[in-house]
Amino acid sequence: MAKSTKQQLEPQHNPSINLKGTLIAVMLLGVFILATWFGCYYLFLSR
């Protein structure tokens, strides 16, 4: 189980994994959602 194996971990395993790509991908996802929402909101206002 996780707890018992915790002591056995190798030092190079744990330190910060580079997740820059993930950060940018989720940011782009957020931008897409906002763009869709505001696009439809503009359409709503213009009608």
Binding site: M1, A2, K6, H13, K20, T22, A25, L29, T36, W37
Partner: protein
């Protein structure tokens, strides 16, 4: 992580029975979808005087209710059998669930096919179907409850035998999904048993339409999460194994499922935003609760990207997105669900538009909504189910996914993507131009606006035809995997935790707490408005068999 168990032959037979119904439903329901898109193009008349609303109802019921429920319950039984095991008694209960659901399905399907239940899958009152339709649906739900309590029992027995250990992640997820399904389906069961069956039998003269629709959507929104959560199970706990990685975070996955349990039920009013008779304050409150679902959804997106990136970097791929190029694109067990994930981006964004109170008026009852759920359930969910079937079916039948079948699966995924992109995009645009959903082809006495819809309806027929080719190919692959592929062993992929993973907090398995909060939220969101509906409703409606209910 516990070692996964071996699935015995007699257990595999039970799980496969659910799969046979799933893929038979795919063929029948898909054919109805093709006929609908052709009929709505205005260039094709349905043969043998078939009623458009009959095929529309078959399509919705067979794909939205039957295919999904059978696949989910079969898949979840397999997950439980693999992670916590199944006893002889539990297997017998599983067969009860299967037969009850099958008898109910056949009853409802025959009633629809003989034209006695053209009420669409939402069966809105005051349209009335033959009582056999409602009784059939009630049997499907009762059968699913047998599965619910069997799954609960499976985990309970395991926990007793493994005191102090955390439950396997997939078993935990199955129990969350079944808890949500049970709590939600109580609403539709109450409506069917107390309102629809007596009314359709003639024992009650009228029906409270608003109450029936409110109870339907109390069930109807969590229904879409019931479809989606098995896909999330695969994304969180199976895909990492397929791409050669590990589980990103056991705690994050459990927390996301708990949030989905809490926030997927007290939100049905966002399907009823144009409904008179519900206080706007309560609509607003339920819209806010709906938006809370964004949190676990984005947690899932983050977790998936992080799994991909962590795995890619560990395999030595550099650069900001270097890990992305090296995902196993030629493995259909990964590709089909991945396309499903991508489709969930526009699908989810569209869903936020639908649930936004004012903007709902822009798209309400238009074919935009149909385009939306063909991205979510008919792409995200179904392509993930296909992705699961590519390994689950041969695993259960003792066969192998051969390179040829893998290639056919990739072709199938591409066909689906092309067909759905054409059909769903055309539906979204036509919806923004005011094109209605649900209705048969009409020129509406030659209105100008109608002319702008016709081209998109033609595009939907093209997309629908391509999708039907994809369905035939998928059914062929399923038959091959079930009966003809070479004998062998196909892996049941379950991702393991990192060796240095943080322990999962025990709090995440406090069922009393999470189910208690869920019930409290439901009571908060529904008690006063339902009381208002009961107290202030206009007189109930007599049944209408015309224009589309029965003929």
């Amino acid at each position: 992580m516990m070692n996964p168990l071996k699935i015995a032959k007699q257990d595999a037979r039970l799980y496969m029975s659910f799969m046979y119904v799933t893929f038979a439903s795919l063929l029948v329901g898909g054919l109805m979808g093709l006929l609908q898109t052709l009929a709505r193009s205005g260039k094709f008349t349905l043969p043998f005087n078939i009623n458009y609303y009959t095929i529309l109802t078959v399509h919705g019921v067979i794909l939205g209710l039957v295919l999904t429920t059978f696949f989910i319950i079969g898949f979840q039984f397999a997950l439980m059998g693999k992670t916590v095991g199944i006893s002889d008694k539990q297997r017998k209960a599983g067969w009860w669930a299967f037969w009850l659901m099958l008898v109910g399905t056949v009853m409802a399907a025959v009633t629809i096919l003989v034209g006695q239940a053209n009420v669409l899958y939402t069966f809105y009152a005051p349209l009335r179907a033959h009582p056999a339709f409602y009784i059939g649906l009630a049997l499907v739900i009762v059968g699913s409850w047998v599965a619910v309590f069997t799954n609960f029992r499976q985990l309970y027995v395991w926990k007793k035998a493994n005191k102090g250990q955390k439950s396997p992640l997939l078993a935990f997820m199955v129990v969350i999904n079944m808890a949500m399904w049970f709590i939600a389906s109580l609403g539709v069961a109450a409506s069917v048993l107390i309102q629809f069956i007596p009314w359709s039998l003639g024992y009650a003269e009228t029906i409270n339409v608003l109450l029936s629709r409110t109870l339907f959507w109390y069930f109807g929104h969590p229904l879409v999460y019931f479809w989606l959560l098995p896909a999330y199970m695969a994304w969180y706990a199976i895909i990492p194994k397929i791409i050669g990685g590990k589980l990103f975070s056991d705690s994050l996955a459990r927390m996301s499922f708990i949030l989905l349990l809490m926030f997927s039920i007290p939100v049905g009013f966002h399907h009823q935003l144009t409904e008179p008779g519900i206080d706007p304050t309560w609509k607003f409150i339920q819209v806010v609760l709906t938006f809370m679902v964004v949190i676990p959804t984005l947690m899932t997106a983050f977790s998936i990207f992080a799994t991909f990136e962590t795995t890619g970097r560990r395999l030595g791929h550099k650069g900001l997105f270097g890990w992305f190029k090296h995902l196993p694109w030629k493995d259909v067990r990964f590709l089909a669900p991945f396309i499903g994930m991508v489709a969930f981006i526009p699908g989810g964004a569209g869903g936020i538009v639908n649930a936004s109170h004012q903007m709902n008026s822009l798209i309400h009852n238009t074919i935009w909504v149909t385009g939306h759920f063909h991205l979510t359930v008919a792409t995200t969910v179904i392509l993930t189910y296909f992705g699961i079937a590519y390994w689950l079916v041969p695993h259960l039948t003792g066969r192998r996914l051969t390179p040829r079948l893998n290639k056919l699966g990739i072709i199938q995924s591409i066909i689906w993507t092309v067909g759905m992109t054409i059909m769903s995009t055309a539906m979204h645009i036509e919806g923004l131009l005011g094109g209605p959903r649900r209705s048969n082809f009409s020129t509406y006495a030659g209105g100008d606006q109608v002319q702008s819809w016709i081209g998109y309806q033609m595009a939907q027929a093209v997309g629908g035809t391509i999708l039907f080719i994809g369905i035939v190919l998928m059914v062929y692959i399923f038959i091959q995997l079930a009966f003809f592929a070479p004998r062998g062993v196909e892996e049941f992929p379950i991702a393991e935790e990192e060796v240095d993973a943080e322990p999962t907090p025990k709090l995440l398995e406090n069922w009393y707490l999470w189910i208690g909060i869920t019930i409290a939220l439901i009571l908060f969101a529904y008690t006063i408005p339902v009381f208002d509906i009961l107290k202030h409703s206009p007189p109930g409606s007599v049944p209408f068999d015309w224009p589309i209910g029965r003929y």
